[in-house]
């Protein structure tokens, strides 16, 4: 049975959208993608996905998520669950690429500012950060990104990356310490 469009507004919770999709409402899937696509793209990009692969990886993340939706019982937040899928997808991609970890950041991806000096500083900072992220162990990098870019708490990060909140906190602090050194 299809759920009417009016039943899947932007204010509907993720679990309700998942239930609606399971009941056959395609619009619920659309809303879930709309809600999380940018976050997934942000995470994949900073975690090392190539520019040309980014769209494909975001799509593949959602395809895998919807195919495996029966496995999501709602214990973890949908965002955490989808980040776990994105992380695994990226891991597979790295494995296929035999150790390629990060791609060069393109100038077009760097921040644009009205003030040329500020632009230069920001661009340089972003370049250093990108390089620094590439030098971190995978778990440290992903914990850092989920916290710094997604604002996730340690419990959600632990759910995403199959670790514990305490370990996630330690990884985050190690990552920040290393990145601070590289950017100073």
């Amino acid at each position: 049975m299809r759920v009417p469009a009016a039943n899947a507004p932007a204010s509907t919770s993720d679990p309700a959208l998942v239930d609606a999709y399971r009941a056959g409402d395609e619009r619920a899937a659309t809303e879930l993608v709309t809600r999380h696509a940018l976050a997934v793209g942000r995470f994949l990009s900073a975690a090392g996905a190539g520019t040309s692969d980014l769209d494909d990886l975001v799509q593949e993340t959602f395809i895998r998520a919807f195919r495996a939706l029966d496995g999501w019982r709602g214990e973890a937040a949908f965002r955490s669950w989808i980040m776990a899928i994105a992380s695994n997808l990226l891991k597979d991609q790295f494995r296929r690429a035999r150790g390629r970890r990060m791609v060069a950041l393109e100038d077009a991806d760097l921040a644009a500012h009205d003030d040329p000096a500020a632009t230069l500083d920001a661009t340089e900072a972003e370049r250093r950060l990108q390089q620094g992220l590439g030098s971190l162990p995978r778990l440290q990098r992903e914990v850092f990104l989920l916290r710094a870019q997604q604002g996730m708490d340690y419990q959600d990060i632990a759910d995403s990356l199959a670790t514990t909140p305490g370990a996630a906190r330690v990884h985050y602090h190690h990552a920040v310490k290393r990145l601070k050194e590289l950017m100073s």
């Binding site: 942000r42 980014l54 769209d55 950041l105 921040a111 920001a122 920040v176 950017m183």
Partner: protein, 168 residues
Amino acid sequence: MTDCESVTDRIPVVALGRDAWTAEEAAHLASCPACQAEWKVVETARRLGDSAARRVDPDRVNSIVIARLRADRRWRRAAWIGAVAVAAAMALVVWTGRPTHQAGPIATRGAVGFHLPLAELDRLDSGQLERILEDLEAPLGAQAAPEAPELGDLKDSELERVLRTLEG
């Protein structure tokens, strides 16, 4: 008194614009180089993420994801129909091959097993059957007609006909 840990714990949510510094936290941040360095790292990561997000087109992602999910459903439906068809065919095979009590040419043969297609033998009495068996067991040539003449009994003209026949 605000310490570094309480400030750094909140840096991500403030950098993402989900919350704001309290006056006390802002004062600590302004006077603490370590917290400022961490703020710079997290804020740069946020900017980097925003740049990356600009490369993702949610509408395009949506249309491709939905199209593939529809294709998945079509494939699953086709696979389901195929499985049902195979199951039905197997059920039909099993059903037609089951033992039956109805008399019929195939079923009768299967149930009775081998028998000679010489129904008339059944109607013979034992004496007649014994004679048939004796005939079958007799050596070849033993059944030759008793009135067949020996070569020595033939006349000259008959012998010549036989020889011509043998010579072709």
